[in-house]
């Protein structure tokens, strides 16, 4: 539904371009009318006219804001109230308002704007515009207060020991969550707007002196170069700025954990924070990062190193378990130990389908279950998974539709994919698993191996913002091995960044 609008530039483009020109007139009523027209007499546009206490039908000022986007209390107490009070005492046309506004309005941030474009966009972001009769300038008071969710525990990247807060949909909340963790003047925050219709706020955050200047520049340029109607989630940005648009592998890291972002900033990476989504992008991302969980640094190095190895193992198991099983039973029966093949044969004796169909159907069934589990209303979710996993699997085996071994294999490959800390990599395993399945049915282990070589070749050719995707394993950099397969003790890890 959202895709339909993309890249439909040209004639039927919304009205955003019309307001670009022109300055305010000195007739306030005209200005107010024009604002109303520009916003199409929108229902949530609130215009408070402040009339003269003594002369009927003389309007001194207008306070304009979008209802719901701005803090109504603040407007009442700090803008409308002082203005009324002031006009009570000085029933006259307010001149030299740049100077006086600061004395009258008790708002922390005040700016004076002259162009229509700025005025309209301020209204749209939730600021309050004060128009005063006889002035060609508008006063903008910062009163943004958008509806936002409270900070909650992360839902997709949980840890046992570690911070329990996660990002929200609000850009400011998110940047403040990061700022609160690094109180350092070197933290830089660059703000941009992306999306020709939505004008979504985007912040690029990095630490000056640690982050690579050339990559920072590259990121800014790529984000600036994005040509898209709207940005609703971080993936919109990810797909627009990644190096290779056809790859299945994630070239940008996403996380909803502030501590993970801070950790990456400290390692010299750059965070892209997008308003409207709790997922923050981190560039450049290399393959091994997708196996690092923030928790690796919050517990003993031996445990986290072995857990990381376990994740690597699980990643391979998840991709290869079903295809290797298929290759063995259809092409390389000689490689299975005799006792095992005897029991496998006994299991498959009454299964009416070819092995490839059997395992493919089971994999698809699992994908259906997973998809159903995600889309289901929360309350029904557990019921579905129990019905699916237990009853379906058990019944299928008992009815002789599938062998028990296949159920085990599919379950193992599915469960091991959940050990991965990042969901983008889980999706990779799903894709590759199915491709491998076909290759394996076609030509057995040889095909599986050749396909793996293809994947390796493809991954080696990938780059994320100029950094080779397989770094620092290939090209091999000995000094950077401390945090790849194993996590070395923290003292030895931190020597690296202090040297820089």
């Amino acid at each position: 539904m959202r895709i339909g609008r993309f890249h439909k530039k040209s004639e039927e483009k919304p009205t955003t371009n019309r307001i670009n020109d022109g300055t305010l007139s000195d007739d306030m009523n005209e200005n107010v009318m024009r604002v109303k027209n520009e916003l199409g007499h929108s229902a949530d546009l609130s215009v408070r006219l402040i009339e003269s206490p003594h002369h009927k039908s003389v309007v001194h000022a207008a306070v304009i804001h979008l209802d719901g986007m701005a803090d109504a209390n603040m407007i009442n107490e700090n803008i409308v109230n002082p203005l009324i009070e002031w006009f009570k005492e000085n029933d006259q046309i307010l001149t030299e308002m740049e100077e006086r506004a600061g004395r009258i309005l008790t708002v922390s941030q005040l700016t004076v704007k002259e162009s229509w474009q700025e005025l309209i966009s301020s209204v749209l972001t939730g600021d309050t515009v004060v128009l005063v009769n006889g002035n060609t300038k508008a006063i903008i008071a910062s009163t943004k207060s958008q509806p936002s969710r409270a900070i909650t525990e992360p839902t997709s990247q949980t840890v046992i020991r570690g911070p329990k807060d996660s990002f929200t949909e609000n850009l400011r909340t998110n940047t403040s969550l990061i700022r609160a963790r690094i109180q350092n003047p070197d933290v830089r925050l660059v703000s941009m707007k992306v999306g020709s219709v939505t004008q979504t706020d985007i912040a690029i955050m990095y630490i000056q002196g640690i982050a690579d200047e050339s990559i920072v520049k590259e990121v800014k340029e790529r984000v600036k170069g994005i040509d898209i109607d709207g940005v609703l989630e971080s993936n919109y940005i990810e797909e627009m700025i990644r190096d290779d648009s056809m790859t299945i592998f994630p070239l940008l890291l996403n996380t909803e954990r502030p501590d993970a972002v801070v950790g990456n900033l400290l390692e010299g990476r750059i965070a892209i924070i997008i308003h409207g989504t709790p997922f923050v992008l981190i560039v450049p991302a290399v393959f091994s990062q997708f196996f690092q969980s923030p928790e690796d640094y919050y517990q003993n190095q031996y445990i986290s190193s072995s857990l990381r190895l376990l994740r690597f193992g699980a990643f391979f198991l998840s991709m290869y378990a079903s295809s290797i099983y298929l290759a063995l039973i259809t092409h390389h029966q000689g490689l299975i130990p005799t006792t095992l093949i005897v029991s496998l044969m006994a299991q498959r004796e009454n299964v009416p389908f070819p092995a490839i169909v059997e395992i493919f159907v089971m994999e698809i069934a699992f994908e259906i279950l997973r998809e159903a589990g995600i889309r289901m209303p929360r309350a029904i979710g557990p019921a579905v998974s129990i019905v699916g996993a237990l009853i379906l699997g058990q019944a299928a085996v008992e009815a002789g539709f599938v062998g028990a071994a296949v159920v085990i294999i599919v379950a193992i490959s599915a469960i091991s994919s959940f050990t991965l800390p990042n969901t983008s990599l889980v999706n990779v395993t799903r894709g590759i698993r199915f491709m491998l399945l076909f290759v394996s049915a076609f030509i057995g282990l040889y095909g599986v191996l050749l396909f793996s070589l293809c994947i390796l070749l493809h991954m080696s050719s990938l780059r994320s913002f100029g950094v080779p995707y397989f770094a620092p394993i290939a090209p091999f950099r000995f000094k950077e091995q401390k945090d790849v397969l194993f996590r070395f003790p923290l003292p030895s890890l931190f020597k690296k960044s202090s040297r820089k």
């Binding site: 056809m246 000689g334 005799t338 093949i341 496998l344 498959r348 009454n350 057995g444």
Partner: protein, 396 residues
């Protein structure tokens, strides 16, 4: 981008031309786990081969639909060569035969006495099976009969034969597993002859081939019996019991075996716990001399005499006795093989390593040289303890 599309296209072409792929369903396979080769009376078809095929539904315990039938089925085919019989077997076995799980080969005694020489070529060329599988001689019977026995303790007869032999090798040592590649190596070598373990049927009866065999406590079973000695690829005689075991001493294939020594009024049993031997052939006055150095470690574990084992001299005495006993047994065995001109130990190979020049000159004549060679044995026995008791309980 173009690259990706063309790769996909080529992959599709591959899929199309893969009519002759290796894809086989498990349900369509007849897995041959054992093979018996017999002599056939018909000179045009000199081989009679029995293929033992696994019957999966007979094996499965949890199978709802089945559980019927025996674990294995034997199919017998005759033919000119082994591979011809394999091809012919397709006319009796309803599933595509698969020899990758072949786990043993049994050769009928009659065939073994005729010739063994090029029997293994088809196996060694390696496309059809592994060569690390044991080979046995069916003693006094045909391989077909031996493979026909239904075993109560193990799932398949083949498995039973292998585990019985391994067990025998571990705990008695009269014979040991000989793998196909070792047989091939011996057949190729001028300095070593083949020796193979024999198996026969104990308690033979017709019931042995039926499920009834599983319902008695004294069933027909398979028995490891003796060591077949070959000379230039032809079987010449059997070695039994202690003579067979002595041969294993020389090649240090035996590890744990009880040696019984006489004492005043009864016997003492010493179980070896480790045997290490070294074969060297030396040349003395242009004639080979067979040297064998054997180190044996043992435990004294049973006695029926009244002896005081707390005295170390008693143990020393038994060590000497055991040296004598083992020397005697080994000499007897070597003499037998010398008489048959069958160098089953590989003294010729040992000579070829230490003295290649002499070997090159005399290898054609090795069997005669071997049969005349004097034997020099050096056995060393060490009894390290006498079990948990010092003295036996006396019948006073």
């Amino acid at each position: 981008m173009k690259m990706n599309i063309s790769l996909l296209l080529s992959a599709a072409i591959c899929l199309l031309i893969s009519g002759c792929s290796n894809y086989r369903e498990l349900n369509d396979l007849g897995v041959i786990i054992a093979m018996g080769v017999d002599h056939n009376e018909d000179p045009k078809q000199p081989y009679r081969v029995t293929y033992q095929v696994i019957n999966p539904s007979g094996l499965s315990q949890t199978n709802k639909a089945g559980g019927q039938g025996l674990a294995v089925i034997n199919y017998t085919v005759t033919g000119k060569t082994l591979l011809e019989t394999l091809g012919k077997s397709a006319s009796v076995i309803p599933r595509e035969n698969n020899t990758t799980h072949l786990s043993l080969i049994i050769i009928g005694e009659k065939l073994a006495r005729n010739d063994l020489d090029l029997l293994f070529d088809g196996l060694d060329r390696g496309k059809y099976s592994r060569v690390s599988i044991p080979i046995f001689i069916a003693r006094g019977q045909t391989a077909k009969d031996v493979l026909g026995v239904i075993e109560p303790l193990e799932i398949t007869p083949g498995k039973n034969i292998i585990s019985t032999t391994q067990n025998n090798q571990k705990l008695y040592g009269s014979s040991s597993e000989v793998l196909a590649y070792e047989v091939i190596a011996s057949l190729l070598s001028d300095g070593k002859d083949v020796s193979l373990p024999g198996i026969s049927i104990r308690n033979a009866s017709q019931i042995g081939k039926q499920t009834k065999n599983l319902e008695t406590t004294d069933p027909t079973t398979i028995k490891v019996s003796g060591l077949a000695v070959f000379r230039k690829g032809k079987m010449v005689r059997w070695l039994d019991g202690e003579t067979a075991r002595a041969a294993q001493f020389v090649t240090s294939k035996v590890k744990n075996t009880p040696v019984v020594l006489p004492c005043k009024k009864g016997n003492v049993t010493i179980t070896t716990i480790g045997v290490k031997s070294k074969m060297v052939t030396e040349i003395h006055h242009e004639k080979p001399v067979i040297h064998s150095k054997i180190n044996v470690m043992g435990e004294l574990l049973e006695t029926t005499c009244q002896l005081n084992f707390s005295d170390p001299n008693v143990l020393k005495e038994f060590e000497k006795k055991m040296v004598k006993e083992i020397e005697q047994q080994i000499k007897r065995t070597i003499r037998i093989t010398q008489k048959e001109k069958a160098d089953i130990f590989g003294f010729g190979d040992a000579l070829s390593r230490t003295n290649p020049a002499y070997w090159r000159e005399n290898k054609k004549n090795w069997d005669n040289l071997y049969s005349d060679a004097p034997i020099a044995l050096k056995v060393n026995v060490e009894i390290i303890n006498s079990g948990l008791l010092m003295e036996p309980y006396g019948t006073k």
